[in-house]
Symmetry: C2
Subunit: 430 residues, 2 copies
């Protein structure tokens, strides 16, 4: 069994030349991938999944070397944990690829062919974006996930993972290359950068001729750098300063359950609640109990004056708290007069990611849905449900906080575009 | 009748402060516009159209001053012609606004609300992009057209036209402001920059906080500058190196009619034919006659060796001809072996704008539609029909050669996005 690609390049290669070669190979492969049939793409996904399981020991060995190098370099425990390829994570990678195999192929779908007065018929065909560049951090499973989504959507991909995961990523890349080859698809449809030099990232971000879209996956620092430097359109995911607003006509049971779940089910995710807004009329009934639950869960609370007057053990929220994504066991709380003040707060301090109202009042729900300008707007649902799988997208390459192209959870469709197709019988313009 | 806004600001204002004020006002107005009802928006369009007609004399006086200043500055005849507001052009502006009034309002439309296994219901709602920045050149009618499309799609707009049209643009802006005001919508929903300093453009392109998308309309130089400098997503329109491929199984009559129309119906447009490809088996039958027609129309022809051997009066096409957008009475011609070579040529030299095949062979048509990666791909239709009105979009803010967000002719939908909406009855994540 070959372990193709599985070597870190350490020769004194010119970075510009290297990135250009990646780009040219990807562009050539993209043309073949765009024409590939569903069967070939599915076979490549299946073969890669099989190889990941078959090469389990090799993957773990390579991963162990990454972990050793990382530990020697003094990487923290959390980072090493994210880097580790456990048996469960290897199984999950293979499972993920088989799941992508099971999703419908969107490519080539023709929609709404309509006759026009001139006699031409006009519609749209769904096609791949072309070459997708993905820049990500230490979790090696992103290599398999991202490659799988790009293969299924008929794109070529250039993947640039973190240097600390280079051996793990290249070992996974070897499985993908072999899986593509076995299915008659170009190996270079998925290329993992084998040079860890940071200049490769800069090179990719300026390869507008060869790359159609850049998707960064990782922490805020990475995403900000990519957004700033990229000459290529970026599908990006910035802050998630998410709100739950408990309306005065909320069902108290639902309100408590949703507000508690949205904050405590997981702290570090982008759809986690960061600021709780509550109408003054319902606050005395709901807030003291909710604050007690939060405190018991170890959540530090920071509130407005009215909140502090009503509940014990709540610190003072400063202006900056309202726009902070804590990503941890902290919550800011503000009592508002009602719906309008809540929506003003969300507009002024929120990040347009995910915001929910809890209410039984139909008109309040309707106004909230219409007027709140966020990628996900919810009624009587925990913000933690803002997720590609929960939404039925089948898979998720990320969540977009952009407004153009893809907004909110991005699945396979976000990796495609539509071209116009026009048929006729000799129509000309007069 | 007030002529609001209709003054060029010449006070020593700080450009940064000025652009920031435009941005803040637009952002505030955008929130109101997003909630505006169809009736208010339509009333604003109607009122503006009426005012443009009522203020005809004023518009023409202001335009005359622009023309005088332009002539004194030595502007060329073509530029002055584009700048002129004739009675017909004033009528067309009003007509255009009434047409936009007649189009359906897309805002608020909810699609595909689906129940998920968790019990939540997930769908998407169409919403405005927010603030649209439009940077354009000398035609003052763009002011009315762009404003109309932005109003109908619930966006706020910042318009920056050419300095040579400043008085005309501000006079039109006065009509729009009054039309908005009469309809109860914020006047600052449409702002025309009243400072002609070029630094205003630079300022707008870096106002990522206040502007959601930039649409440049004008020549190549403008679009390249905007694409390069913008920190904001750009819906842009680059080259149109468009092809017609006459397949060996083409109907000769359709082939000649389409290839002639695609080149000669209008020379300066982006969907005009620039390179004719023709299969070697049909070339002897079709090409000499077609070349004769082109020559009679005054089109200079540049061909490959085989073309020159077959037809008289054809110059030599150089490598650079294949990738040149002539925008004039010039055409390059190449004889190819068949479909594959034609598609390779289009991939290598084309600009992915609009490409057509002429054929009666079903499988060739099917392959061309699937495999050619252009914003419009056509069978037996003149490339000149690639147009928002011909496609039934109702109106066109431009043609996008980008792949993300909007590809091909961009109508009202291209000025909108979709947010997820999620409803439930207390669902949380477990």
């Amino acid at each position: 069994m070959t372990q193709a690609n599985a070597t870190i390049r350490q020769d004194a290669v010119n970075i510009g030349t290297y990135v250009r070669e990646l780009g040219l190979s990807a562009r050539a492969a993209a043309r073949t991938m765009a024409r590939a049939g569903t069967q070939e793409k599915n076979q490549a996904l299946r073969a890669t999944a099989d190889l990941i399981i078959a090469r389990r020991t090799f993957l773990k060995d390579e991963n162990t070397r990454d972990l050793e190098v990382g530990a020697a370099k003094g990487l923290g425990g959390a980072l090493l944990d994210r880097l580790e390829l456990t048996d469960a994570r290897i199984d999950a990678m293979a499972e993920g690829l088989r799941h992508i195999e099971s999703l419908p192929d969107l490519i080539g779908e023709i929609t709404s062919m309509k006759f026009r007065p001139s006699g031409i018929q006009v519609g749209q065909m769904r096609v791949p974006l072309g070459v997708v560049g993905i820049i990500y951090e230490s979790r090696p499973n992103v290599t398999a996930d991202a490659a799988g989504l790009c293969i299924k959507s008929g794109n070529a991909a250039i993947l640039r993972g973190g240097s600390e995961a280079i051996r793990s990523n290249l070992a996974i890349a070897g499985c993908i290359a072999r899986g593509l080859e076995e299915s008659g698809l170009p190996e270079s449809s998925v290329q993992v950068a084998s040079i860890t030099d940071r200049a490769v990232v800069g090179g990719l971000l300026t390869s507008a001729e060869h790359i159609d879209v850049i998707i960064p996956r990782g922490g805020k620092g990475l995403i900000e750098r990519v957004s700033k430097e990229s000459m290529i359109p970026v599908i990006k995911h910035l802050d998630g300063v998410c709100h739950v607003f408990i309306d005065e006509q909320a069902d108290p049971g639902k309100a408590i359950s949703i507000a508690y779940n949205a904050k405590t089910q997981r702290y570090g995710t982008c759809n986690t609640l960061e600021t709780l807004l509550i109408a003054e009329l319902i606050a005395p009934e709901v807030l003291p109990r909710l604050c007690g639950m939060y405190r018991q869960a170890g959540v530090e609370l920071r509130g407005c004056a009215a909140t502090r007057a009503l509940c014990q053990g709540v610190g003072t929220a400063r202006e900056s708290d309202w726009s902070t994504e804590y990503l941890g066991p902290l919550l800011s709380i503000r009592i508002v007069t009602g719906l309008d003040e809540a929506m003003d707060h969300i507009e002024n301090y929120g990040s347009h990611h995910t915001d929910a109202i809890v209410t039984e009042n139909f008109s309040s729900a309707r106004r909230f849905l219409r007027e709140v300008d966020s990628s996900s707007v919810m009624v009587n649902v925990s913000t933690r449900l803002a997720d590609g799988f929960e939404y039925g997208l089948g898979a998720e390459i990320g969540i977009s906080t952009d407004k153009l192209h893809a907004r909110g959870p991005v699945g396979l469709e976000g990796l495609t575009t539509q071209k116009y197709i026009v048929t006729g019988e000799g129509q000309i313009r007069t």
